[in-house]
Subunit: 410 residues, 2 copies
C-alpha cells in the first residue's frame, strides 16, 4: 500500500497556514493577495509532485497527473472564512496532494492517476460553491457578472478576478469519463466524533440547506405615546415566532436536523420607536428531503398562524434550497475498510451537516468524503484545530481509500 510521509503532510499544512496568518488561524478571503499567493504556492507544490498545475479563469487550481491508468479526482479549497481556521479546506488539499505523491511513488500503481483540485470560493465569499460548480459546467458568465462580496463593501467578483490576474483565462471543466470517483477530506466542524471518542467519519450524505426570510409588517410608531393595546409591533411578532419554532420543531425534526435563526433585524432599530418591520433569516438542514419538507411545512404553518392571529402581517420566502447529496456506497466502503485497518472501531458513518464541493461532484460521478475530528467542535474560528495524530491518521486512511479504488478499477 502507498505510504504517506507525515512530516511532508504537516510541513505543507504549516506552510499553507502562513499565507494570511491571523492569530492561530488564517484570513484568506477568495482572490485576496494572501489567497492568490497560497494558490500559486500550492500550484508549485503540485508541480513538485509531478502534476501539471493550472489556475483557471475562476481561480480553480487544477493539478493533472500523467498516466493512462484509472484516475481519481481529489480536492477541497484554499481560501478561508474571514478570520477562520488553518485546516478548513487546507487539510483536504494536502491530503489530496499527499495521496497523489504517495501513489505515484508506489510501483504497484504505475499508470494510475490522482488529480488534485482547489475549488475556488467554497467558503462562499461571492456565491455558493462556485469553483466546483464551474468545473462541473454549472456556472454561467452571468452568475459571475452578478456575484459580489458583501463583507468587502460589495466587491464585484469580476473586479476581484481581474485584480488577481485571472481575467480572460478560460474556465476549465472536467473531461467526461476521466474520473472513476471524487474524494474529499475535511475537518468535521462539529463535535460528533470527539464526543463519541471516534477518530474518523465516513460521510454518508451531505445535508440539504433550505433557507428562508420571514418578514413581519406592523406599524412604526412612537414608543412613548402609543398605547400597548393598539401597537402593531413587528419585532414582538418575530420573537414570538422564534419561540414557537423552538417549541414545536422538535416534533417534526429528525434526530440530526438543525434549525437556526442567524440574523434578526428590526426597522428602524431605535430604542424609542416601535419596530414597524422585522426580518429574520432562518435555515434548516437535514440529509433527508422528507424531513426537510416536514420542517418547511411546519414553518409555513407557523408563519401563516402568526399572520392570521395578527396584529402584524407575516410572510415567508424561500431563499435557497439545496438537495441533499448521497455519497457513493463503494467509496464509503473503501474509506471504511481503510479506517478499520488503521483505527479499528474508531470510525463511524455520518452525514455532513455542512455543505462541501463533494455535493456538486456527486451529481456527476461517484463521490465520497472523509472527516477527521474537530477539537471541541470549533469551526469557522481561528481556534479551530485537530490533533496531529488524527491529521496523520486521516491522511493515511484517505490515501489507502484512493489506492483501493484505483486498484479495483484496473
Amino acid at each position: 500500500m502507498p505510504t504517506i510521509d507525515p512530516d511532508r503532510v504537516m510541513g505543507d499544512l504549516k506552510r499553507l497556514a502562513e499565507f494570511g496568518k491571523y492569530k492561530t488561524g488564517v484570513h484568506r478571503p477568495t482572490y485576496s493577495e494572501d489567497d492568490m499567493a497560497a494558490r500559486h504556492w500550492f500550484a508549485g507544490r503540485m508541480a513538485d509532485a509531478g502534476l501539471e498545475p493550472e489556475i483557471d479563469g475562476i481561480g480553480n487550481v487544477i493539478g493533472r497527473g500523467k498516466g493512462n491508468g484509472p484516475c481519481i479526482l481529489t480536492g477541497s479549497h484554499i481560501e478561508s472564512q474571514n478570520y477562520g481556521g488553518w485546516l478548513d479546506g487546507s487539510l483536504g488539499m494536502v491530503y489530496g496532494l499527499e495521496a497523489a505523491r504517495a501513489i505515484s511513488a508506489d510501483p504497484e500503481f504505475a499508470g494510475a492517476v490522482v488529480d488534485v483540485g482547489a475549488w475556488a470560493d467554497e467558503e462562499g465569499h461571492f456565491g455558493i460553491l462556485m469553483g466546483s460548480r464551474s468545473f462541473c459546467g454549472e456556472v454561467t458568465e452571468e452568475e459571475i457578472d452578478k456575484a459580489a462580496d458583501p463583507t468587502r463593501g460589495g466587491l464585484k467578483m469580476r473586479d476581484a478576478l481581474a485584480k488577481a490576474g485571472l481575467a480572460g483565462r478560460p474556465r476549465r471543466q472536467y473531461e467526461p469519463n476521466r474520473y472513476i470517483a471524487y474524494l474529499e477530506a475535511h475537518i468535521e466542524q462539529g463535535d460528533w466524533l470527539e464526543a463519541n471518542d471516534l477518530r474518523l467519519g465516513i460521510v454518508t450524505s451531505i445535508v440539504g440547506i433550505w433557507q428562508y426570510r420571514v418578514t413581519f409588517e406592523g406599524v412604526q410608531n412612537h414608543a412613548g405615546t402609543t398605547r400597548m393595546a393598539i401597537r402593531k409591533d413587528a419585532g414582538l411578532a418575530l420573537t414570538k415566532l422564534c419561540c414557537e419554532i423552538d417549541r414545536v420543531f422538535p416534533e417534526v425534526a429528525g434526530p440530526r436536523s438543525v434549525w437556526t435563526t442567524g440574523r434578526i433585524t428590526l426597522f428602524p432599530g431605535a430604542p424609542s420607536i416601535i419596530p414597524g418591520q422585522a426580518e429574520m433569516l432562518f435555515q434548516i438542514r437535514d440529509a433527508d428531503v422528507a424531513v426537510l419538507e416536514r420542517m418547511e411545512k411546519k414553518l409555513f404553518e407557523l408563519v401563516a398562524a402568526s399572520d392570521a392571529a395578527g396584529p402584524c402581517r407575516a410572510k415567508v420566502e424561500v431563499l435557497r434550497k439545496s438537495t441533499p447529496a448521497m455519497m457513493d456506497e463503494r467509496v464509503q466502503a473503501a474509506l471504511e475498510a481503510a479506517a478499520e485497518r488503521h483505527a479499528p472501531g474508531k470510525h463511524t458513518r455520518m452525514p455532513s451537516g455542512a455543505g462541501h464541493d463533494a455535493q456538486n461532484f456527486a451529481r456527476h460521478m461517484p463521490a465520497g468524503m472523509l472527516f477527521v475530528p474537530s477539537i471541541g467542535g470549533i469551526s469557522h474560528h481561528w481556534d479551530e484545530n485537530t490533533k496531529e495524530e488524527d491529521i496523520i491518521l486521516g491522511a493515511q486512511v484517505f490515501t489507502d481509500a484512493v489506492a483501493e479504488l484505483l486498484r479495483s478499477a484496473r
Copy 2:
C-alpha cells in the same frame, strides 16, 4: 381676552414647513443648513412681534419681551426628527409666538411679558434635551465636547456648532425670578385624544423613561455541524426573554405603562452561524416611579431567570433613567378652564408618554403643557398631521391660559 389670528398662525406654520421640506413633512436635523435657516427666520418673526431675539451658543433661539409686568416663558423646538413631521416642535413655537403677539396687542395686558424660546436639539440628534437643560444651567462644556450625531457619521456637536456659526457665542441661562411659569404646546403624538373624540389634552405629568441593554452570551458555532442539544444560541435566549416580557409585564405594569424592544442585534448575524452573542435595547415608560420600579424589578427577575436556566449567560445594564416630571396644578387649571371655554367637554387631563423640554423646566418653575390631537396617532413620520380647526383651537386655548396666568399674577 387676547385673540389669536388664525391666518397668522397657519401662515407661520406653513412657512416654517418650507425649511427642509421632505414629502409632506420636514427634514431639519439640529444645526443643519435648513435648521439654521429656520432658526434665523424664526428670530426675524420674533423681532417682528416686538421681542428681542438672540441665538445663543447652543443654538437656542430666545426672544425676550419688553415690559415690567409678570412674565411667562413659552417654548418648544425648531429642528425635526430625520424625515419627520411638520408640526412636531413647530406647533409649540408658533403657539408661543402667537401668544406673545396676541397679548402684546391687548391693552389689558400692557406691561405683561411673554418670552419665547426654541430649545435646541429637543429631538436628541446629539444628546437628551440639551438646549433646555443648557438654559436651565444643567449642561457642562464637557457634555457638549463629547456629543455627536450617530446618524450623521458621528458628526461632533462642536463641529456642527462651528459650521452653524455658533462657536464661541455665550450660552444663555434663565434669569432667576423672571418667570411665573413655563408653558409648552405640542402635538399629542399618540391616538388617545382622537380615539376618545377629544380635541385638547392637559398634561398632568411627563413619563420617566428607563432604558436598558440586555446582553446574552452563548457560543458561536457552525449552524450545520453543531447539534441542537449542545447549542448555546444567544439569539434564541433573547427571543425567549422577549416572549416572557410580553407574557408577564401586563401583571406589573400600570394602565398607561409602555414597554418596547426597539433594537435586536445578533452577532455575527450570518445565516449559517449560531449567534454567540445577542443584545437588545429595552425601554419602559410611566409617569409613576413606583410602577417603573415594579417593571424594572420584573425585568431584572426575568433576566436572572434566563441566566440561571442557561445555556446562555444573560445580564442587564441600565442605560438611562429619567424621573417623571409633574406639571403644576395651577397651570393645569388655567389650561383646563381655557379648554372648557372654547371646547366644552372635549378635553382631558393625561400624562405625556413622550419626553419634552417642559420636564426640565418643571424642576425650576411651575410648568405645564397642552396637547392637540395627532391624526391616526402618527408621529416622527412625514405623515404626521393635525386638523386645521384643532390647530387654531389649540392656539386660542394656549393664549387664553397664558393670559389667565399673567392676569392672576398681577
